[in-house]
């Protein structure tokens, strides 16, 4: 996939705003188009990634930039929506039909827990088996039981990400918290505390992608897309999704492992070749599990990895330099494109106080409802 590049990036900060989704989406899109050095009229096709917005949101947002008859549609694959929308643009470019596309992610979400009826059956909602954090927490409890992972280690992830967020103007929370403060914050679902979990919010992020040939003519600072993979969890490989039961006899690789493996294969590199990572820390434990699943350490060694400090910005495998979802929040449709915004900034050397020194390659990872997982690997 080294024939497609990211030519421009744009973002509207993640948080809660007294603006319509059309406004924040159009701002991010216009920024990405400007950054790419092109105009809206140059764009040949556009995709909107969103989960909670109404129908035809993409067309409604992008009409604000002026009239066009290009195909614009909305794409949804839960938390992986951004990766899927990017993938469609890449496929369109690789098909030879177009050579310049806009991929926009936008969301505007209500406060608090997400509407459970979007992904849970009525009986699960009635019985209270319908809280996303409860599924994440069950994974954490089992990991602690099998591998000795501690609440302290989980809190360390949150501590690191909150510290990183201070330097990210696009994050919703930009405040450092002490380990005590984190561990004393209210339990949401044991063992996960309030300061260790992400909140749904508003935000938008966009990228302009181009064929390498087109990019060569346009100039600018293109970042190569080495892989962009979307998979679904196979049977019993993940219990994050609202399943009723899982197998006790088989344990296939989880969606993050499976997706990362494919992405590495396509990119022709491994985790040791990647300089910085943005991953789906919907909760602090989740980041520990992802360390293992994307191959930063062995199974059960995620707790030791956060202890080692190697995933700090100045470590050798920095993770969530942006502050992660815990600090940015999760405007679902915008989330993966926000990660890509961060990685592209890092690879361009534009990340200021949170810059990973000399970063040449990066990975963005999302995982959510239905076991939807997307991984994008980029390089300069």
């Amino acid at each position: 996939m080294s024939d497609v590049v990211i030519l421009g990036i744009g973002i509207h900060p993640f948080g809660r705003f007294d603006k319509t989704f059309e406004e924040i989406g159009a701002e991010a899109a216009a920024q990405a188009i400007d950054d790419a050095g092109v105009t809206w009229q140059d764009i040949q096709t556009a995709y909107l990634s969103r989960m909670y917005l109404p129908a035809t949101s993409g067309a409604r947002i992008l009409r604000r930039l002026g009239s066009t008859d290009i195909p614009i549609c909305d794409i949804e694959a839960a938390c992986a929506s951004g990766g899927v929308a990017l993938r469609q643009a890449i496929l369109a470019i690789r098909s030879g039909e177009i050579d310049l596309a806009l991929v926009l992610g936008t969301e505007k979400m209500p406060r608090g827990f997400m509407d459970p009826s979007m992904i849970y059956a009525p009986w699960q909602v009635a019985m209270g088996l319908s809280l996303n954090p409860s599924y994440w927490s069950m994974r954490a409890k089992r990991h602690m039981y099998e591998h000795g992972t501690s609440e302290l280690q989980i809190a360390k992830v949150a501590h690191k990400n909150h510290r990183n967020s201070v330097h990210n103007p696009n994050a919703m929370y930009r405040k450092e918290f002490s380990m005590e403060k984190i561990m004393e914050s209210p339990l949401v679902c044991d063992p996960i505390h309030l300061l260790e979990i992400c909140a749904p919010n508003d935000g938008a992020a966009a990228v302009v992608v181009a064929s390498k040939e087109r990019a060569a003519k346009l100039g600018g600072r293109p970042i190569q897309v080495d892989a962009c993979v979307h998979t679904l969890a196979t049977y019993s490989s993940d219990f994050r999704c609202p399943a009723d039961s899982m197998s006790a006899t088989m344990a296939p690789p989880g969606p993050t492992s499976a997706t990362a493996r494919k992405a590495y294969e396509i990119a022709g590199i491994g985790p040791q070749d990647i300089d910085c990572f943005e991953v789906q820390d919907t909760d602090a434990f989740c980041e520990i599990e992802i360390y293992e699943d994307i191959g930063l350490c062995g199974l059960g060694e995620g707790g030791a990895l956060i202890d080692s400090g190697r995933t700090e910005i100045n470590g050798d495998t920095p993770v969530n330099m942006s502050g992660g979802l815990i600090c940015k929040g999760e405007p679902v449709g915008a989330s993966h494109l926000g990660q890509i915004h961060e990685i592209v900034s890092q690879l361009r050397g534009d990340s200021g106080p949170r810059q990973v020194s000399g970063a040449r390659t990066g990975m963005a990872h999302v995982l959510g409802a239905g076991g939807n997982c997307a991984v994008t690997i980029m390089s300069r």
Binding site: K141, Y235, T249
Partner: protein
């Protein structure tokens, strides 16, 4: 009586295919599972196709009533949406209960939330979970610790 004048059953299962019938004596009600004759996997509820291999060669069976707790969490806030549990809200455990039939079932787990532990023995409990808008008793299920009251 329903609006159209027909008699409604006094009790209904919270999801029709999850529980055996009749629902009169709740002590005799069991969880229903589906076993795939192709790949051997068993999953909760009655299913026309295997969620693993997609085969339609399925056998419906009663699941065992005794299991152990594979993992759990404590839900500390009232779930959103049309939650029909106790009001005022009380923190509760939910967990994955490993049954001898080769599956783990996601369920409410009864017992002191501060004393819950992975590995504890559990037994199925079928009970009237709530009353619906039509005045019917809606039958749900949970697993209760058998080692501690």
């Amino acid at each position: 009586m329903s609006e159209d004048g027909k008699d409604l059953p006094k009790r209904v299962a919270i999801r029709d295919d999850l529980l055996t019938k009749p629902l009169d004596d709740l002590d005799k009600v069991r969880l229903v599972g589906s076993r795939c004759r192709q790949c051997g996997e068993t999953s909760l509820g009655e299913r026309g196709r295997c969620p693993n291999c997609g085969s339609g060669d399925m056998e419906t069976r009663e699941l065992g009533t005794e299991g152990t707790l594979w993992t759990y969490t404590v839900v500390r806030n009232r779930p959103p949406g049309k939650y029909r549990g106790p009001d005022p809200f009380q923190p509760f455990c939910m967990g994955l209960v490993e049954l001898p039939d080769g599956l783990r079932v996601n369920a409410l787990v009864e017992g002191d939330v501060e004393e819950m532990e992975i590995g504890v023995p559990l037994r199925l409990r079928v009970f009237v979970h709530h009353e619906n808008e039509a005045g019917q008793e809606v039958v749900g299920f949970a697993f209760a610790r058998t080692d501690k009251p």
